[in-house]
Amino acid sequence: MASIELEHVSKLYASGAYGVRDVDLQIADGEFVIFLGPSGCGKSTTLRMIAGLEAVTSGDVRIGGKSVTALPPRDRNVAVVFQSYALYPHMTVRQNMGFGLKMRGVAAADIAPKVAAAAQMLGLSSYLDRKPAALSGGQRQRVALGRAIVRDPNAFLLDEPLSNLDAQLRAEMRLELVKLHRSLGKTIIHVTHDQVEAMTMGDRICIMRDGRMVQVGRPLEVYANPADTFVARFLATPPMNLIPVTLASGPGGAPRVEGEGIALTVPQRHAAAYGSAAGRRLLLGLRPEDIYERPADPGWQPLDVTVVAVERLGVETVIVGQIGAEKPIEINARVSRHFDAGIGERITLYADALPMHLFDAETGKVVPRAPLEPAGPAPLVA
């Protein structure tokens, strides 16, 4: 049993600044949870409070239903994998991996097979007698993971474990961690600032900013229904386009969002929900993949832009287009990899208004509307 619960957990530093503010979270046994946020948002601090490495200023941390707030790290039976790996440099891989059991008084004869099994699993069997300094970055990362596995802890707390690896290795380890979770079935909290890790690895993402947890949910749910402009922009590259607009009545009385150089009819199903936003300064949120070179569906609406840049990535092409003239706004559109346009050219793109969002321009909070069906096999057609 290793559910993890945080109840109004805060961390106040001696300087008077909050590291973490009033975080409430329930993590079920066996769940894989991602803490996502920019550096300094408090995600690592939260992890360390769960591990007992930093004191909790107020609130309660429970592991397996039992409060551990006052317990030292060694009595919480969680394993931490650090960004720096934190391998003991004076010990061999074997000693590193066995250290946790040795500290718990397990006999050497019982440690050896467990270390061997974990090493086998991670492909480290032939490195057991090396010191960490003689290993590559990827191997060190595995040893750190192996050291955690050998102890058979209640939960794994991973603090940006992949951020020191190169892109290819990172992609491989991402997959291996997911497989590991599937085979061990243990609770995992994974701290990262990488959107791809966040979207692909976990059961839930918890997005943090300035010490607060701003949104918690299944990755695709959060992606489709961001709570504010921060989440909207943070969760993808290129980020969601945000265009200053106001809500007005279009021809025939249908509500329209209008801004400099843009006017889109609000889909029927959102009309009622957005009624309350009339008259406020708003930001229209449109993801780059919802703007395309041709309408995928008759309901898509034209959007004229002046081409600022054409970023050809090989797999796909991103058009950076400018709308408006007085206060020009740059937007990104993910078009087909075969599309081409010249710099400065005026082109018409097409936007799908259905997945649109409106945010309050002052507070950045989303104007609530009913979520679309969760993304799944069926295409989202209006």
């Binding site: 360390r48 591990a51 007992g52 490495l53 030292p72 790290p73 060694r74 919480r76 969680v78 394993a79 931490v80 650090f82 960004q83 720096s84 934190a86 391998l87 003991y88 440099p89 004076h90 250290f99 946790g100 500290m103 718990r104 300094a133 050291r147 102890r151």
Partner: protein, 265 residues
């Protein structure tokens, strides 16, 4: 061309540094009457060393110096390690405590030696190897603390955190992880403390007596008693430098490594 210039410069510098000890080495093997000769080797004898140890009791001084220097480092080191670690990791006492440690190093030894003498006479520790060891341990403590503090600061706290989640207490993490990882720094600090004590003159002069003198005091007595016997002084200088040479050969890599501070890896 440029490399040649560099090597030429290095040879010059090396000669300047090495000539005085080499001259002392030469003189120590020359019979006393010929010591001032400008010849390279007007004669070779071991008489100076024999005299030094037989007449001048250098054997006793040597033993005293070794006991005092090694003993004081061994006594001060555990305390210095713990204090330095507390300063480095927990910022115990903050900047004030660090400055206090540094401040003790800044007081003029001449100003401290008299109160120490009076205190030691009161408790009966003057003219004793034990007293000098205690005095040197007190002198080494802030010095070692400061050096080890710098070293401990270079050790990532992640290592201790890893040990603590692995089941160690804070104390266990210190002894099982921090201390072994810092061994180069501890060795470097220990050697420097040894050298500091080995070379110390003022306290040794004031606190020791004829039977408890150290090498520097013995050396000074050679220089003042009935004229300077230059060949014996040279032999004494060679003997005084010898353990320093031996020590630095053994721990070269620790010194250079350890004194860059911070870089553990």
């Amino acid at each position: 061309m440029r490399r040649l210039g560099i090597h030429f410069g290095l040879v010059i510098v090396s000669l300047i540094i090495l000539l005085p000890p080499l001259w002392a080495l030469r003189t120590s093997f020359v019979p006393e009457p010929m010591a001032y000769s400008t010849q390279l080797l007007p004669g070779v004898t071991l008489q100076n060393y024999v005299d030094l140890f037989v007449q001048k009791r250098f054997g006793v001084y040597y033993l005293n110096s070794l006991i005092v220097s090694v003993g004081s480092v061994l006594i001060a080191m555990p305390f210095a390690a713990m204090t330095g670690y507390a300063f480095a990791r927990f910022r115990t006492g903050g900047k004030a405590a660090r400055l206090a440690v540094l401040a003790t190093q800044m007081l003029p030894p001449v100003a401290i030696v008299l109160p120490t003498f009076m205190l030691f006479r009161y408790v009966g520790l003057t003219n004793s190897v034990t007293g000098l060891t205690i005095a040197y341990a007190a002198m080494n403590l802030p010095f070692l603390t400061w050096i080890l503090m710098g070293f401990f600061e270079g050790i990532p706290v992640d290592l201790e955190w890893a040990a603590q989640t692995d089941g160690a207490t804070a104390w266990g993490a210190f002894w099982r992880i921090v201390v072994p990882v810092s061994l180069p720094g501890i060795a470097a600090a220990g050697v420097l403390g040894f050298i500091l004590s080995w070379n110390e003159f003022l306290f040794a002069l004031v606190l020791s007596g004829p039977a408890t003198a150290t090498v520097p005091v013995g050396l000074a007595s050679l220089q003042t008693s009935n004229g300077v016997q230059i060949a014996k002084v040279a032999a004494g200088v060679v003997m005084a430098i010898l353990p320093l040479v031996v020590a630095s050969r053994f721990i070269q890599r620790f010194i250079v490594h350890g004194l860059t501070f911070g870089s553990v890896k």
